[in-house]
Amino acid sequence: MNFNLSKEPIVIQDVIDKVIKRNAGAVTTFIGTVREMTKGKKTLFLVYEAYEPMAIKKLEQIGAEIKERWPDAETAITHRVGKLDITDVAVVIAVSTPHRNDAYEANRYAIERIKEIVPIWKKEHWEDGETWVGNQLETVPYPTGKPKEGDIRD
């Protein structure tokens, strides 16, 4: 089970352990945590919601895409769902490869793809309201379901 969702806090070491191999000299992890301030606005907490069976399938697909591009890579991804407080871990991506450049590149590929194709949504709760954050690039709160044009990648 290298790709899954978790209602409980993610244990980072458990995700790393899934990719440690005798011939993997390099492991990278990406850990997404809940940030307090976004563009001057203070977040109190977040809620992540997922279309769970499809989200797992899409995480598995990302693992398969990485395997195709970096055949020696091993990938594990766990994404949290439910309510998260500031500094809580939302996602952990671990990638092992024999050489370090691949481990960075494959890891970065994974996070970009998560933000494109995995059906998980974040609702930000602020002091003065709440909004589903609606474009996958995390740059624009998106209460109407209609992204503005010209959003750029974070």
Binding site: Y48, K57, V91, I111, V118, K122, W132, G134, Q136, T144
Partner: protein, 77 residues
């Protein structure tokens, strides 16, 4: 019957997570039109659609028993 799943702002807008619709033989585009006309669901032109947990385009034809999910722009990670 087709089962329709709604998430995030779409679910908040409609006030329910799933609805069932007679839509055998319809395209995804036709289902979207119905959702807009009957439920006043906005922004459907910018959501992705999944049929049976795989992304599908507007031309995809639906069959009884299919599960359709409207996928607003995702924000995981």
């Amino acid at each position: 019957m087709i089962k329709v799943l709604l998430f995030a702002q779409l679910r908040d807008e409609l006030g329910k997570e799933t609805i069932s619709i007679e839509a055998n033989g319809w395209s995804v585009a036709e289902l979207k039109g119905k959702m807009k006309a009957e439920y006043q669901l906005g922004g459907l032109e910018t959501v992705m659609t999944a049929v049976n947990e795989e992304f599908a385009d507007d031309d995809t034809i639906l069959s009884d028993g299919d599960t359709v999910a409207f996928i607003p722009p995702v924000s995981g990670g």
